[in-house]
Symmetry: C2
Subunit: 401 residues, 2 copies
């Protein structure tokens, strides 16, 4: 008999709660996997977050992990991780939600981030929906039209639609996603979980579909900050001084609120959430300040768009030449450069973003934390459109150039 | 009987010479392939540029191309292209010159650039040597120690060692290579052929090993400028105004010579070559000028190095966790960050490079062309060390940030 009974519902555990139990054997990897499979079976008929899931393969791999002696277990031993379906997994197909990749035969290589997770003992669980090549919208082709787990009539956000929905719905404790505009931050916000978009290049992109080479970033979804910590440690995503001199306290912390130049688009949900956050922080003794951004920052979304259109010309060229009509028209448009982005426009956009980066660093250095809206409002109704790419800082944060 | 006899030695043809003959059927893809295979058979015992070459597979694919009706032939119909062995090819193994990838089983996916080439009718010929993961030096592991085709005791350069050597030795008309520091420009210079390193992102990197995410660039080797034109057209690498108002003429052209701050390291070979180029251009009526770069440019190589060390931390993490001792110690060093590059150092290096980019653009705009040394001197003796990463403009050119 295991020390964890079915009544205790292991699917409810965060990664940080499950990991010590998995390490010391109180919770078997097989038990946790079975519990999650039961949860998925109950819920996914409506949520539709998974595009590839093999219970027999999962349980077999979980058993292999359970057989590893305790002393040899990795830092993520037995942790189930869901994977956005634009990231290569050698034992599961990668279909990119593209008509061109319908095959059920896996590409027999792991993305670099998957190799790292497996070496740490993670259980690569299954593949999660994405918009087509993490671009465009949901429901173009053969993959699920994923729903928001909190309201099946609303979008879960995208492009990491399945990752946000599955984590938010307790179907998996941790999932990998990617972001080029707001594709991690937005679904995390809509689905009620944490989304972490690391700085560029912290997690290797080798083996992940490319859209904007200077923008694409691999990141994480989870239901606790401690979970993010545990996984980011495995990826060596550390501060320069990983052990701060003193623990962060809200009391007397200086917290900036950057409403950004896009604030006029913020709906009542976002406005209320921001006001509530301010009040809560003030109540706990934080010093809250509005951050006024120089006018130049109002151009960030436009520059981001220019960069993305320029970079999209080459990213989808191979698929376009294979069969243009198999691609969504927005993706055809990148290759055809229908927005007429010149090399000069693209270079100017890189230079403009780069010029503002130290300006932003200087502003940010005056605060212990800067808070900015992650979405324009709560998840809109309808499943195909995954919502607007929102806040300015998403653009600053995802553009190194 | 073909219109091309064996005496005419098709292996001598450049791509631009071969393409019209292949298109109209005067030269069969099978004949060109056979001629190249003969050349390779004669030469490669000494040059050792190839790590994977299947004559039967090549001839079979060439026959498939020959069977395509003329009206349906692509712009690169029948053109043999060699591929650096860090670029995925679904029908040939990709071994990265790494102990960890010794398998002869292909990863069953094409890199995006390979898809594009195949769609244009190119004949993907075989895989060419690389240094380990396009980093480090030659001869670490199981792949060939490639020699310079013009002097077997000298290095062919690297990391695209096989690409430069095979093209320079008339074993293949065109090859793909990659550059993070000087890995296209240097072997092209040492092996006596053209090397083209496009601006960042012009050719998709999806399916190519990652070292420096902001630096890695896919590019080309050939034996004529027209060859580069033909292949770059297929990749949509075009100027904003692809049809110039008037053809470029050397007479009265304003040509800058940027000796760079690394000129003190230039050996007699490079010094003589630069002086000879100046004299030739002057004789043909060009206006030749020295380009003085602001002092800040003297830091470019150091910043490039900081960026590369910072980015290498994540690029090789998966392989390191799999088996650190299977990697060259320099690659272990990136993951372990033995140079102690902080996130702050890395960010400052990005900002510094970005700050100089518009300065450089302004300088360059005053000239019709700027010439800079591609290497510090002629190819050094010995095969393991592929030579120094040289000129400052290599660093400027390969750093978008």
């Amino acid at each position: 008999m295991s020390a964890i009974s079915n009544d205790e519902e292991p699917w409810k555990l965060t990664a940080a709660e499950a990991l010590p139990l998995l390490r010391n054997g109180t919770l078997k990897a097989v038990e946790l996997a079975q519990s999650l499979l039961t949860r998925i079976h109950q819920r996914d008929e409506n949520v539709k977050a998974w595009v590839w899931l093999s219970p027999s393969q999962i349980l077999q791999q979980a058993q292999v992990l359970d057989d590893i002696p305790q002393a040899q277990r990795g830092p993520l031993h037995g942790l189930p991780v869901g994977v956005k379906d634009i990231i290569l997994t050698k034992d599961m197909p990668t279909q990119y939600n593209s008509k061109l990749y319908r095959s059920d035969t896996p590409i027999n290589a792991d993305a670099n981030c998957i190799i790292t997770l497996r070496q740490a003992g993670a259980l690569i669980f299954g593949k999660l929906t994405t918009t087509e090549f993490a671009s465009s919208k949901q429901g173009n082709w053969h993959q699920n039209l994923t729903a928001n787990p909190h309201d099946f009539e609303r979008t879960p956000g995208g492009s990491s639609s399945g990752s946000g929905a599955a984590v938010g719905d307790f179907q998996i404790p941790v999932a990998l996603g990617t972001q080029t505009g707001g594709s991690i931050i937005r679904p995390a916000s809509f689905d009620g979980c944490y989304g972490f978009k690391p700085t560029w290049g912290c997690i290797s992109r080798e083996g992940i579909a490319q859209w904007g080479w200077s923008l694409d970033t691999c990141g994480l979804f989870s239901r606790s900050v401690e979970d993010l910590d545990a996984v980011l440690d495995v990826f060596q995503v550390l501060d320069d001084d990983p052990i701060p001199q003193q623990a962060f306290k809200i009391e007397n912390a200086k917290i900036g609120f950057a409403r950004t130049h896009n604030w006029s688009t913020a709906g009542p949900g976002t406005q209320k959430a921001i006001e509530k956050a301010k009040e809560l922080l003030k109540c706990h003794g934080a010093v809250v300040e509005e951050v006024d951004l120089p006018d130049d920052f109002s151009n960030m979304l436009e520059w981001h768009n220019t960069v993305l259109n320029g970079e999209g010309r080459s990213s989808f060229l191979g698929q376009y030449r294979t069969d243009p009509k198999a691609l969504h028209e927005s993706i055809q448009g990148y290759v055809e450069n229908i927005k007429n982005v010149s090399r000069k426009d693209q270079l100017e956009a890189y230079d403009n973003c780069a010029r503002l980066r130290p300006v932003w660093d200087d502003i940010a250095s005056k605060y212990d934390m800067v808070i900015t809206p992650s979405v324009v409002d709560e998840a809109p109704k309808g499943l195909e459109n995954t919502g607007d790419m929102a806040s300015l800082l998403v653009a600053v944060g995802s553009s190194p150039c």
